[in-house]
Symmetry: C2
Subunit: 442 residues, 2 copies
Amino acid sequence: MEYISLPKPYVDVVAECQAHMGEQVTFSGTVHRVRSFPEFSFIVVRTDRALVQCLFQGEEIGGIRREDVRDAMVVKVTGRVHEEVRAENGFEVELSAVEILGKPYDKLPVPLGKKYMGLSLDVDLPLRPITLRHPVKRAIFRVQSAIANGFSEYMISQGFVHMTSPKIVSAGAEGGADLFKVDYFGTRAYLAQSPQFYKQYMCGIMGRVFEVGSVYRAERHNSSRHLNEYIGLDFEMAYIDSMFDVMAMETGMLKYVMEYVKKNCAPELELLKANVPEIGESIPSVTFHEAKQIMLEKFGHKSKNRFDLDPKEEKMMCEYAKEEFGSEFIFITFFPSEKRPFYAKDDENDPKLACSFDLLFRGLEITTGGQRVHDYQEQMDKLNRRGMDASLFESFTIMHKYGMPPHGGLGLGLERLTMQLLGLSNIREASNFPRDMQRLEP
Amino acid sequence: MEYISLPKPYVDVVAECQAHMGEQVTFSGTVHRVRSFPEFSFIVVRTDRALVQCLFQGEEIGGIRREDVRDAMVVKVTGRVHEEVRAENGFEVELSAVEILGKPYDKLPVPLGKKYMGLSLDVDLPLRPITLRHPVKRAIFRVQSAIANGFSEYMISQGFVHMTSPKIVSAGAEGGADLFKVDYFGTRAYLAQSPQFYKQYMCGIMGRVFEVGSVYRAERHNSSRHLNEYIGLDFEMAYIDSMFDVMAMETGMLKYVMEYVKKNCAPELELLKANVPEIGESIPSVTFHEAKQIMLEKFGHKSKNRFDLDPKEEKMMCEYAKEEFGSEFIFITFFPSEKRPFYAKDDENDPKLACSFDLLFRGLEITTGGQRVHDYQEQMDKLNRRGMDASLFESFTIMHKYGMPPHGGLGLGLERLTMQLLGLSNIREASNFPRDMQRLEP
């Protein structure tokens, strides 16, 4: 029998080294690159977050021969830190002890030690457990992690309650045929297209809720902006006056997230040469109708799509926002109701329009949101008008039947936001282990 | 065109009222209960988190008749706050304005206004969008939310990086037949039984990672402690000396989470009459072998299960921990390797034992964790010894092949922890929309 005590405090290797200049430090990592000279070698050790240059002098240290230290070995090293302006982070560690904790059994299949690996996605993706060890690649996911953390932290600060929702469902929330089928003990079930119904339920329960969870779309796309499984950052809030309250919340959230990322990911942003947008006190917003006018007047573009913006038009509107307002974000509001979901609230002044919006960022839609129908009769009428069988939605409309507050919310694709923030050209680069039509592994 | 500015600051209704005693306040909520007298009514309004007693005097306020205010109406109310020791939270709001924001279309199917509804699960679960509006029920999920938030916050403070992993996978990580099948564009796929492979990959990439995500088990259980879809709190950490480092991290995490819950959920803990355990500086730990001895010597119980503890034995060991060490938690370590997963590291001193542990809390196993195999040859040998086809695991063992640090981690069931913390008798009470063999809705 023994007692398990609290863990040792966490130590960031770079901070530790910088705090102990001239002294001895011990840390662990993987051999990232070895550069050998006749009398010594530079051994660059990849720690959890950084590269640390170590100096191995002589032929042997404590039984470990210099020539045996090779790429991808996992090591624990001890040595004296000293300033070295030419090394990463401005210091170097002169080794006095080396312990081997793990070893590779084959030569690395990709040049991890190079500044850029220059791999095509076809080579990169199947080898993700290895390729993501590259400092530039893994930096993407540390930024993604910060986006999710910043999102949660902001939501909590605004009185939102973290929620989870089942992903095995009996029906799709967004309609259409793009549902993955699951065999649920012999019953046909589906993977959730969104947490929509559940966040509305929870909004009637808690007032303000958010979720960070998986979303499934069985779309037969093979594009650079679609994944078949992605992470949705969702929130839903009650007692709103209009969808503009939801948009204000998104503005506040994005401002917070951008500041969070800048504060927590400085080394990664530098590695990725990323430029985090400034969100001042507001984000510009135009109606769908205005957007069509703007594209016609400003770009001589006559839009053919009556219900939505196509990718080219999203780029155009972002160009406009940048030029006109110096903003990298722009909201588009009041889309035609016809192609918006059945739970979207229609505009009281013009029922052909939905109180629904998209947010565009650097040329790409990253959010869809809006106010939802909260009145039971209004929801039943809308289902009926669309020729939908309301009896199939009884477990959804039960919440309206027994009273719902006015409410609205949105969903934001984590990978899309990551992609746009970091200027990646394919969404697969912003998903650690992407799922697309051809890919189920790793 | 317009500018969308930042949202109004979030206001907690109770704090707002308490800060404005004697003054006028405005807030929104749902009519929870009405008690009518000849000259006035007490209207208890359920806000996002509390119940607020409002006094409606006279027959009408601004066009709203007193007799028309009924249960489940969503209202925005204005009035003067004054102290009232007999009311919830010690104050009452004397209404001067009432606005109706939403209305019910039918009489509530359950007695939401009662202190306890006294529903069986069969009645409760199908009506969850409504029944969770009850203060006691929704309190469970605010505590659950705090557990998840506290977990994330602690992990981040210890240098762990938030990760996500695909839930549509090509093979199960935990073996067995308990996998839900998914039709993935005509290919057979499964729902992930755990993020095991992915957190090991990410651990080789980031060093320390955590995830809060869905886990799927197609087990044909109909028990009070199993769900077919649940939320796993997972972490994985590199550069450990042994599994005891993982257990220390769990000790620190649980201590933090319990303090977080106490700090952030005081009203809910009171409503639920919950007793949050004290974790001092340690949690006791005994080996599986010792546990068998203890049960024999202390309880005269001769265990028949050579590989695990059964539910009765879990209770027994918790009774022992409580009596002997005053602890509501106890670790059980070094289980027989044979029934532990193929990725578990075997004990160097006795290869028949795995460096694997469970954590028991108030009579129930809530965690399984341990050290993992990190050496490629050791992992290949273990697969082969078990008669498993190593070629099926190439996308997993690729990480070992190119060098892995010693590492380990664990998974904790969020619903199980919630259930045990709050003394719930069925795990379905700790899942907002549970999935079991009979249940796919709501």
